[in-house]
């Protein structure tokens, strides 16, 4: 059956800069914003945009992601002739199977999957961005401008521009230059890593690129510059909504803090719901001496201490006299009586025992950073985890840790 557009979501990244949090899970399944995992954003965007076939390309530690996405029921994507498909690397007859060697190679290895749906266009997404976008609007511009490729772009500051793929446009509005992470950026239009390609043209480009031994098989480094060089029409789709890359501890912490209040991104907006598969737990309970301010709290939580400027995911407990300030507590984390957690990220099911201290306020020093404790560990009673630490092993009671 012919389709106008299907989506391919690149979810294989390891997220090495988040390593304490991604030691055992892929980056797209890192919890975010209380109720969500990062991948909920692109998947909900697909469902809300009417895209009903989504291939999710996995590679690094995919088990949790696979069971989380399941049939796609949480996103209403479990339709009879479409749905969400997990696509791990696989082996073909007579060939040696291989890992995905780059973003373009990952799509190349799944050409057969895409051909099944005979789509006119293919939307390429990545699983590590927090944003709400109507891909159907982007598709409309793509078709309207008869583009081989449409790239979602966002204006960034000139300082930030060196971290992105930067593009420039000609007088007709089409893209005439594309540079990956330029030292001297020529414009402030950054690629958001969201592309819609005409499938026939992409298919040809992928095959040509695969046969080029010097290519690094990457969309930003190879496919797009090659298309531009070949004189194809590339259109920029300008996006001015909220969009954050959450590839580092600081950006992950920042983006979570952005979810407090409704000013930057309205998660309460019923016309564009971000869906998630959440465990069904009773409503959260706050004890008689609790204090919760400027924070978000999720079902299953039990709060007896003080919480401010923080994000509490499902089933978090905060004990009597405990203080949680400017922190992110992932599902099932617990903070014992009298413990203090400041400017920290506490991984799933990690137990901060009574009287322990994790993180501290910014002190203006160079090496200050958010403290991060990985999932499923124990910070013993009275132990100390310093600002900027990034740990994935338990800390014994009473011990200090400044492991980086």
């Amino acid at each position: 059956m012919n389709r106008k557009c299907i989506a391919m979501l690149l979810a294989g990244g390891q997220g090495s800069r988040l390593y304490a949090l991604t030691k055992d899970v892929a980056k797209p399944s890192v919890p975010f914003g209380g109720k969500y995992r990062i991948i909920d954003f692109p998947l909900s965007n697909c469902a809300n945009s009417g895209i009903d076939v989504v291939g999710v390309l996995t590679q690094y530690k995919p088990l949790q992601l696979n069971s989380y996405i399941g049939s796609g029921q949480a996103y209403d994507l479990d339709s009879s002739d479409g749905g969400v498909f997990i696509l791990p690397p696989y082996q073909s007859a007579g060939e040696k199977g291989s890992w995905f060697s780059g973003t373009a190679n990952a799509i190349y290895q799944n050409i057969a999957f895409i051909e099944n749906y005979d789509p006119e266009n293919v939307l390429i997404l990545s699983g590590d961005h927090i944003y709400k976008m109507d891909y159907s609007d982007m598709l409309r511009e793509h078709v309207q401008h008869d583009a081989a490729c449409t790239i979602a772009v966002k204006q960034v500051s000139m300082e930030e521009a060196t971290r992105f793929g930067i593009l420039s446009c000609g007088g007709d509005g089409y893209i005439n230059e594309f540079e990956e992470k330029p030292k001297q950026p020529k414009s402030d239009l950054a690629s958001m890593g969201i592309y819609i390609f005409n499938w026939k043209k992409l298919r040809a480009a992928l095959i040509a690129d695969e046969n080029d031994p010097n290519s690094s098989k990457d969309f930003g480094k190879n496919i797009i510059p090659n298309m531009l060089a070949a004189g194809e029409k590339l259109w920029p789709y300008k996006f001015d909504g909220y969009w954050r890359d959450v590839g580092t501890i600081v950006s992950l912490w920042d983006a979570n803090m952005d979810m407090l209040g409704n000013t930057l991104m309205d998660l309460f907006d019923a016309s564009w719901p971000i869906r998630s598969k959440s465990p069904i737990r009773p409503p959260h309970y706050a004890g008689p001496d609790s204090k919760i301010q400027h924070s978000i709290v999720t079902e299953g939580c039990e709060v007896y201490g003080q919480v401010s400027n923080s994000v509490l995911s499902s089933s978090v407990t905060v004990g009597n006299g405990a203080q949680v300030f400017y922190s992110i507590l992932m599902p099932g984390a617990s903070v014992g009586d009298g413990a203090v957690v400041k400017y920290a990220i506490i991984g799933e099911n990690t137990r901060v025992q009574a009287g322990a201290r994790v993180g501290s306020e910014p002190d203006g020093s160079e090496d200050w950073n958010v403290a991060t404790c990985g999932p499923n560990i124990e910070i013993g009673a009275g132990a100390v985890v310093k600002a900027g630490a990034m740990i994935y092993d338990s800390v014994a009671a009473g011990e200090g840790s400044d492991a980086k």
Binding site: L260, S278, P279, I280, P282, H284, A286, S295, I296, E299
Partner: protein, 366 residues
Amino acid sequence: MINLHGLILADRSSRNLRELVLVRTSSSLPFAGRYRLIDFALSNLQNAGVRDVGVVMQRNYSSLLDHMGSGKEWDMSRKRGGLKLLPPFTGSGEYEGIIDALENVRGYIEDIKQDYVALMRGSLAASIDLGDVMYQHVRSGADVTAVCCPGAPEGEHHRFIVGEDGYATEIMLRRVGESEGVASLEVYIMSKQTLLGIIDRCDNALNHKFHRDGLGGLLAAGGRIKIYMHNDYVARIESVGGYFAANMDMLDSGKRHQLFPEERPVRTKGRSDVSTYYGDQAVNRNSLVADGCIIEGSVENCVIFRGVRVGAGAVLRNCIIMQDSVIGENARLDYIIADKDVRVSGGVTLSGSPKLQLVLPKGSEV
């Protein structure tokens, strides 16, 4: 798969629930911030591995239909069997008692593939390990196993006198308050044949009372009813006061954990709400708050359902605020039960009392 079929009676609502059951049956009463009462029966069955369940309905069941859908939340949306909704389809649709309702679905009961049936009310809030009840039932060889609790639940109920061997010696009908024996939670496991036998016995005698004629008759004929004691928290909700008290019980962590044990999760229809946001001046003391709320004011001893807004400066004490209701700035509410989609304007003061809570019906504006 467990050799047990679920049969939930969602046909009857107590009149003392007043405004709360105008638009629904007691089985679909919202409870504890995000649930409907029938979630407990459905989840108890699901947690025991039961997938084939019939729900007997009588009237006011549209909210129940909407809530249960295909039953997928409880893994009961199956190719064969699964959740079956059984509205009245013969006669007047007026059921005088449980037997009337069962007779009406007699054909359904005859077609049940499993050998055993768990019969229960859809309005009982309790986490019962039905797998264990089933195990004890089959092991005992009793005709019927009745799940009972110590003390006395709210309202009129039936009691069993229990002999030393753990079997019922006598059934006492329609008692109020504590007396001898144990209180029936009206959760029974029996073989399909025993259930059909009880229906026939009542039918032939032109009797209509499940407890008086069915179970009483069974005892008189030498049948054996095993008593299974359920000692954890139970709420049998029969009146507005009882509804209020049971919700307030959920602020007690011991009772809450008995009703929502980790090992037997209670499932309900999902809604994809966001986490609840607390503003800079928010206060939450001893309250239960579901997802999707924006709390800018103060809530104390309250149960707040999904999607509720509490404006800045508003003070809510001892209230139950149901789904998507909006409480304006500086409103003061005490002992109020606000049904779904209620709007209370800014600055309004409303008070019920500990003995008589004020109910704001669904969709009302104050």
